[in-house]
Symmetry: C2
Subunit: 453 residues, 2 copies
């Protein structure tokens, strides 16, 4: 579907050439959101808030004084980013927040550039799950087939972009929550390096794993949006050494390592599409396994559960009933892990980084499918692939958590379609802090795929 | 006693001027160690190992080719530093290590400079305690009064220096283990900023709190030794951003903040000596309290216990009987803390740093007594001071843990004597990474005290 939607890059050109105005873009987005309400992509869209911003942007453009190339482009925001106009609920009844005049840093950056903050998107409750089927407003539907899930936790953002309501949206990613719905919905999603993008004003799930990221219609959209994400922010100490976005380096022949082996199984259909896409690119492709994937996964889970339970401990004590029973059970289970287990997990985390950077050599990007299966149908509790049978939840994070545990930048790009017409995405992981170099690799793969169509 | 002992600085001059040779220094140290064996300061001194090094150093000096100004000076080493010639036991029967040709980085640095690695000093078992009364070779005795303890965990190093056996020794400090015996024995002890000195080859107690540090006869000795401690070491990732030692800046009038209030009580005798020393200095002295000291202390304890239990978990499972019962009990208790409690402790740690650096303004050093009481007598289980009654163990770490939890550089300098003739030390804490600036402050205080004598 992304091929037929107008991208942010298209919209930048249309605004610059006067074929569109911020008002016409906003009206079209509102119309389309109304027409596609059954996707359940949005928690809140306030027509007045949208039109007020769009009118101001239109006036700026009429004066010939736009704030930036994206001035007046509607961008949707996951409902765990604080926004000064909309409430923030994380799609939970536990602690809905009224707007208090505070924008998350990324939202503020986009607003300062004139973007029309379009509405708040549906998400997996508290971002603590990857299917987008647990939400106080109900599950999202996949625009490619409403009987299928979007994946999550940024599922509303994925659906809104894939359906062409907006050209771009904001997500957050702790174990794949930007990349999973991007892949399942056939769009582009980028998780920055840990510590390079400010999380200030994004409700945390697990602060040592969380990253905010853009989800968009084409690869160049990501290039346009990343400057609003990257760079130091005094309000997020993890970004103390973060560099601002630099230009994407020139594409050159690249060396990829295609990861596979025990713990990294995928369906034969997904495997075929990924390998076919690699074959069509000019990249040199090596092969490697990841060692003890189960141990690394357990470390990711331990860190996630401990940090989430620590963040929620006070609220859980005060208002346990506000949480859905499944999220409450996760949070209670997280309190059972010992400090020694957490420290062991942190050590294993360091070993993963060492394995990827020292044992594997000379790579420009590591390759995995983003998901082992195309988007599952609603109501499916289990997924079977490559002699594995795992919960649908575990199938969604199957590969993605690796990027969070390592802290590496990751992108998913749509590379094909399943026999049922559902999108299949390829994940590329780059070196920490080298988000721009990862974009250069993605561009090579992306071009080779688009060329063939 | 330190006034009558030859300092490392004295020895540097005596060697340069030919009044001493490495051999004469080694012989004198061996003689004195034998004469003062009842201090129980040493786990191991091997006369052959000492004399072999001293002969080589003497030859180098005879050739006019010393490796450094400290070439041939005997330096004692706490028994948790790996040494390529001596075994390393941490004064425990749990896992004595035969020498394997590996020196801790700091030991290697000193050896490369020609220092005579003199022997291994008695310590509190695994450094997990601050009295030096739990050791598989028995307690150390305070050179100022054998009926009193040295404090610990680097108590053997403190006794060896204070007794004039060696002019300097190595300690390690997780909650005061360099500063406590330095203060109790009337010498100088320095804990570097966290992450500025390599711990490679020093058996850990709690890796996010541990720092290695020098203990010596006069302040200038510390200045001579710190270059061998500070700087990046690829074998200790915490030092990735560590700067090498720079020159101590010129002394200028300084602004101190004298910390006191609830949780920071001390005996009236200690209080008098500290305030008298401050009064005699030219420093501008402000006053502040530390807020919720109990909460900060609990955070230090939680981090210490979790990390120690994590480090020892495998060995404890394999050889619980090797530990003394008290250390085993500590390690078993540490496994009971939850991951959420550990994360909460880490948050409180960040709050302490923020309090000391943002809420308290404009200071060059923070001042506390190093200990709330002079060295306790052997057999005393409790200490009473300032309306507090605490275990002798807790009285030893009473102030010192603050520097470890914050990660700040700290020094203790002897500033007076109790009515019973036991030393009293003043602790100065500097800003993180500014170890040299802390030495400049210490020099001002130290000169004003020495001048008065």
């Amino acid at each position: 579907m992304s091929d037929i939607n107008e991208s942010l890059t298209d919209q930048i050109a249309a605004l610059a050439e006067g074929q569109q105005t911020p008002l016409s873009l906003a009206e079209k987005a509102l119309e389309r959101a109304n027409a596609l309400a059954d996707l359940n992509a949005f928690v809140a869209i306030d027509e007045n808030i949208v039109m007020t911003q769009a009118k101001a942007a239109t006036l700026r453009r009429q004066r010939g004084d736009p704030l930036s190339p994206i001035d007046g482009i509607p961008i949707a925001v996951k409902d765990n980013y604080l926004t000064r106009d909309y409430p923030t609920t994380a799609c939970s009844n536990a602690a809905p927040l009224e707007p208090k005049g505070i924008d998350a840093t990324v939202v503020g950056n986009l607003r300062d550039a004139g973007a029309t903050i379009f509405g708040k998107t549906n998400m997996h409750e508290w971002a603590y799950g990857a299917t987008n089927t647990t939400s106080n407003i109900g599950a999202t539907r996949n625009p490619h087939n409403h009987d299928h899930i979007t994946g999550g936790s940024s599922g509303g953002s994925g659906a809104a972009v894939a359906a062409g309501i907006v050209s771009a949206a904001l997500g957050s990613d702790t174990g794949g929550s930007v990349r999973i719905p991007s892949s399942a919905c056939g769009i582009y999603g980028f998780k920055p390096s840990y510590g390079r993008a400010s999380r200030h004003g994004v409700l945390p799930l697990s602060w040592s794993l969380d990253a905010p990221g853009p989800m968009a219609t084409e690869l160049q959209d990501i290039v346009h949006l990343l400057p609003y994400f990257l760079g130091a922010d005094a309000k997020d100490s993890s970004t103390a050494h973060a560099e601002a976005f630099k230009t994407v380096p020139d594409a050159k022949p690249v060396h990829l390592i295609n990861l596979s082996g025990p713990g990294l199984e995928r369906s034969s259909e997904v495997n075929f599409v990924i390998n076919d896409a690699l074959r069509r690119s000019d990249a040199k492709v090596g092969q490697a396994s990841l060692g003890d994937v189960d141990q690394y996964f357990a470390a990711w889970e331990a860190i996630l559960h401990c940090e989430a339970s620590a963040y929620h401990s006070q609220l859980l004590a005060e208002n346990a009933e506000g949480y859905s029973s499944v999220i409450r059970a996760h949070l209670e289970a997280g309190t059972q892990l010992s400090g020694v287990e957490l420290l062991e997990a942190q050590k294993i985390r360091a070993r993963l980084v060492q394995h990827l950077t020292r044992d594997l050599k000379g790579w420009d990007a590591l390759v995995l499918p983003t998901l082992p299966v195309p988007a599952p149908a609603h109501g499916e509790d289990w997924q079977e692939f490559g002699k594995r049978k795992v919960t649908t939840q575990d199938s969604m994070t199957w590969f993605c958590w690796i990027g969070n545990l390592a802290g590496f930048p990751c992108i998913t790009i749509p590379v094909g379609t399943s026999s049922k017409g559902l999108p299949i995405g390829m994940m590329l992981m780059g070196r920490p802090g080298q988000d721009e170099a990862l974009l250069a690799v993605a561009r090579i793969i992306d071009r080779s795929i688009r060329k063939q169509r």
